[in-house]
């Protein structure tokens, strides 16, 4: 189940400024303020409690209301947002943040080091469902040294800390509101962000309204004050056909498009279509723990039977995906073009020869049997999504080309999550979304073979590299570690990387000055609506 964590499509992305805020001229600002933009949400956010969810809709809403200490800039570097600057101790175990002054929560209370400490301690106490819960297990103590100095002490150096501190789940809460609500903030959300929660109509719509007091917008934008768009609405529509009808009828202004709808909207003057990459990758995995796929040679042989270009062309019409060579997608730090030489490229003749050499002989019907004479019918597990269904069908045909009779089992996500740690599958088709090379520790480490490592792959050499990558703070050395980790993974083939999803979003042409990011989303803070 690909989950968008670091940057969700269309999230409001904010960047820090070094200088003092310089609001745009008053007259211009006033003339641009107003109107509303309506987005689509597949479901309600399950809760607005920042620490008790890993739900993507909730995460999107948090992106507008809450702000974290740091953010990831367009060049993938980390810059201060609520933090002005920071220093890291020589042993890399202590980070001292200097916080930005003069910031207030939308309940009027001031933002300070106490609020940061309160928020992260609450995360440690209640956040078992949060994607950054594990990160904070490494944090041994936190201190509000003075009003604007926050100190975080860690057990071990942890290189991905800034990534984990910039996700929307790491936003800072208003202690005043949380205490007043007796810790129950499932329907309350008070942050420092450019928007605040106006209304939560269960099952229908979430309405956010502009925070008029917001004046710490980053230098990335021309508009340094409050956003221009008065209201943002998230309308809950689960059915794709209805989502399109709502877009056509003007009930919705922004919608991610499917391949089959692209042509229609690209030529419709009422909309503009924006492109963005996602920080993720879909892969074909092999259950590396259990025979027969504990054999790296067999995994490599099957990987060579996979035609990525055909998948991207047939399923995505060459528009909504880009074939990938390596475990780290090209949108994510750590991607290295030098690794292409290790890619197990599509070569059916070689796949057949390797299968023969391994004792998988083809019968009269062209289908192979295992070395012990039993039919070779590996089972692929994947989600019930349409896209995964289409890819699975294509993989069936591609593997049949080399004599492998692939069986496909599509499972609803809860059942799939439960099935994989039990190693019920032979092959696994799914994706990850994690804008950090440390995705290795989540999806390919020995520690996670009973949970998020869905291919149950455990390799001592890779494990050492993963651990080294987590603690190495020198950027160049760290990237070399991930080069080695990727090379090893590509040679061992627990995964055959397939493609990086690309999103195409139709936005109503009434929205002006919407910035298109290099990757991962649209930038809304300068956007205003044609009257």
């Amino acid at each position: 189940m690909p989950r968008l964590l670091s940057v969700v499509p269309l999230v409001f992305v904010v960047a820090a400024s070094c200088g003092a805020p310089a609001p745009a001229p008053a007259a211009e600002t006033t003339s641009k303020v107003g109107g509303s933009v309506t987005f689509v949400a597949m479901t309600d956010p399950d809760t607005l409690d920042l620490h008790q969810t890993s739900n993507p809709v909730s995460s999107t809403i948090f992106g507008w209301i809450y702000e974290p200490l740091v953010y990831q800039d367009l060049d993938n570097s980390y810059k201060g947002l609520l933090a002005e600057s920071w220093t890291v101790s020589p042993d890399s175990k202590t980070i001292t943040f200097k916080l930005r002054g003069g910031i207030t929560f939308t309940d009027g209370s001031p933002f300070n080091a106490e609020a940061v400490k309160f928020t992260f301690e609450r995360l440690q106490r209640l956040g078992a469902k949060s994607p950054i819960f594990e990160t904070f297990k490494n944090v041994t103590s936190m201190e509000a040294k003075d009003d604007l100095t926050f100190v975080m002490n860690m057990k071990d150096p942890y290189a991905p800390i800034f990534h984990d501190l910039q996700v929307s789940y790491a936003g800072i809460l208003s202690p005043k509101t949380v205490r007043a609500a007796n810790d129950n903030i499932s329907r309350t959300a008070i942050g420092t962000g450019p928007y605040s929660l106006k209304e939560f109509q269960t099952g229908q719509q979430i309405t956010l309204e502009r925070n008029p007091g917001y004046k710490w917008a980053p230098a990335l934008y021309q508009n340094r004050g409050a956003p221009y768009v008065q209201e943002l609405r998230y309308r809950v529509i689960a059915e794709p056909a209805t989502q399109l009808a709502a877009l056509d009828a003007g009930e919705v202004d922004v919608l991610g498009l499917r391949a089959q709808d692209l042509a229609k909207y690209a030529n419709d003057a009422r909309f503009r279509v924006y492109d963005s990459f996602t920080f993720g990758l879909t892969y074909l995995g092999f259950d590396a723990k259990r025979p027969p796929f504990d054999n790296a040679k067999l995994r490599a042989a099957l990987a060579r039977a996979v035609n990525k270009a055909e998948i991207v062309q047939v399923v995505f019409e060459n528009k909504l995906a880009k074939a990938q060579c390596c475990p780290i997608a090209e949108s994510i730090q750590g991607y290295d073009t030098r690794l292409k030489e290790f890619e197990l490229t599509f070569d059916p003749a070689r796949a057949k020869a390797e299968l023969e050499a391994l004792g998988y002989k083809a019968g009269a019907d062209g289908l192979r049997t295992m070395p012990d004479g039993k039919p070779f019918k590996p089972v692929l597990y994947t989600t019930t999504s349409d896209t995964h269904g289409k890819i699975a069908t294509l993989l069936q045909a591609q593997l049949k080309g080399v004599g492998v009779d692939l069986q496909v089992k599509q499972l609803e996500s809860g059942a799939l999550l439960a099935a994989t740690p039990k190693a019920e599958h032979d092959l696994y088709l799914n994706g990850y979304s994690w804008n950090e090379p440390d995705m290795f520790s989540l999806f390919l480490s020995c520690d996670r073979v009973t949970s998020s490592n869905r291919v149950l792959y455990c390799n001592g050499d890779l494990e050492k590299l993963i651990k080294a990558g987590r603690t190495e703070l020198d950027q160049a050395r760290r990237m070399q570690i991930y080069y080695d980790a990727q090379k090893l993974t590509m040679q061992e083939a627990p995964w055959q990387p397939l493609y990086m999803p690309v999103s195409k979003t139709a936005v109503n042409a009434k929205v002006l000055d919407l910035k298109q990011g290099q990757a991962g989303g649209l930038y809304w803070h300068d956007a205003w609506l044609k009257k």
Binding site: T47, K129, R235, A249
Partner: protein
């Protein structure tokens, strides 16, 4: 009559307990538990275990059921594992929308179905009869989701009369109610027609006509009232399926009803919410059928409950 109603209501208690046990057993058989789903695809085994413990899922099923009963005795259906809100609150937020949809569909389908049924019965064997019953067959055969999407294309996108989604205005009720009504209107039309034809052969109808009553009075007061008994049975039974079938309509129209809530609860393995929505569905269904039984007595004075 009062004692009869009371007895029926008391009988509902063991039925509901049975339903709740069945739901718990079925939910525990579904692969994937709430902790796995809640933790998401990046969680560690330790995280999943901690959530499982926090939710009390590490306890044996009988203990979990006793805890549910204990909460129920205090008037609570528990807290949703997903939203951390009281299940009752989740349901009361959404149930009125589904009830409005189901009641609206009952009213529309009953009026439409009975009108079509009478019209066809009166013109038995003529072109109008075949045409009406042909329309009913189409109504029975066409899937609800197709009618719903067609309705959106015609009335929302082409004519701009009605909104596509949501329940924000009175107009937004029209398309979902009609889409949900058509199938049951077709069933009611066919039942009405055959009941009316059966009644047409009765002596009392000949007597009514012989008395010189107007045909309209004969039809509506004498024939229809007697033909209504099987129709009212169908109304009661269909009410349940309208509540259940509302899920598709709710999904298509982005309707904030309980059908979608229940299905999401199943996907999320949100046991307290599954339990709550099923119990509310069961209570509604039983009340609807009790109401039908009471209507029987009004329709046919010979029926008496003791």
């Amino acid at each position: 009559m009062f004692r009869y109603v009371l007895r029926r209501l008391m009988l509902a208690v063991p039925v509901l307990l049975g339903v709740s046990i069945c739901v718990l057993l079925m939910a525990s058989l579904v692969p994937g538990d709430p902790a796995t789903v809640l933790a998401g695809d990046t969680a560690s085994a330790e995280q999943v275990e901690r959530i499982r413990r926090d939710l009390g899922l590490d306890q044996p099923i009988p203990i979990q059921y006793l805890r549910f009963l204990e909460r129920l005795a205090h008037g609570s259906l528990g807290e949703s594992t997903r939203t951390h809100r009281e299940v009752l609150l989740e349901i009361t937020d959404r149930f009125p929308y589904t009830l409005a949809l189901a009641l609206g569909a009952v009213v529309v389908s009953t009026i439409l179905g009975i009108a079509m049924g009478i019209f066809a019965a009166v013109r038995r064997g003529r072109a109008a009869d075949y045409l009406t019953m042909g329309i009913a067959i189409v109504g029975l055969s066409v899937p609800t989701f197709w009618i719903a999407l067609l309705g959106i294309i015609v009335f929302s996108l082409n004519l701009h009369w009605l909104p596509v989604t949501g329940a924000r205005s009175p107009q937004s009720y029209i398309l979902p109610i009609f889409a949900l009504s058509l199938h049951s209107a077709a069933v009611k039309a066919r039942i009405t027609r055959s009941s009316m034809l059966e009644v047409f052969g009765q002596d009392y109808l000949r007597t009514a006509r012989a008395k010189g009553l107007r045909e309209r009075v004969v039809l509506l007061r004498h024939a229809l009232k007697n033909a209504l008994i099987p129709i009212s049975t169908i109304i009661g039974l269909q009410f349940g399926s309208l509540l259940g079938g509302a899920f598709i309509i709710e999904t298509i129209f982005g309707w904030p009803g309980i059908g979608r809530l229940a299905v999401q609860a199943i996907f999320n393995r949100d046991f307290p919410l599954i339990q709550g929505t099923v119990l509310v569905g069961a209570v509604t269904y039983m009340l609807a059928n009790l109401a039908v039984d009471i209507v029987y007595a009004w329709l046919d004075p010979r029926i008496r409950y003791s």
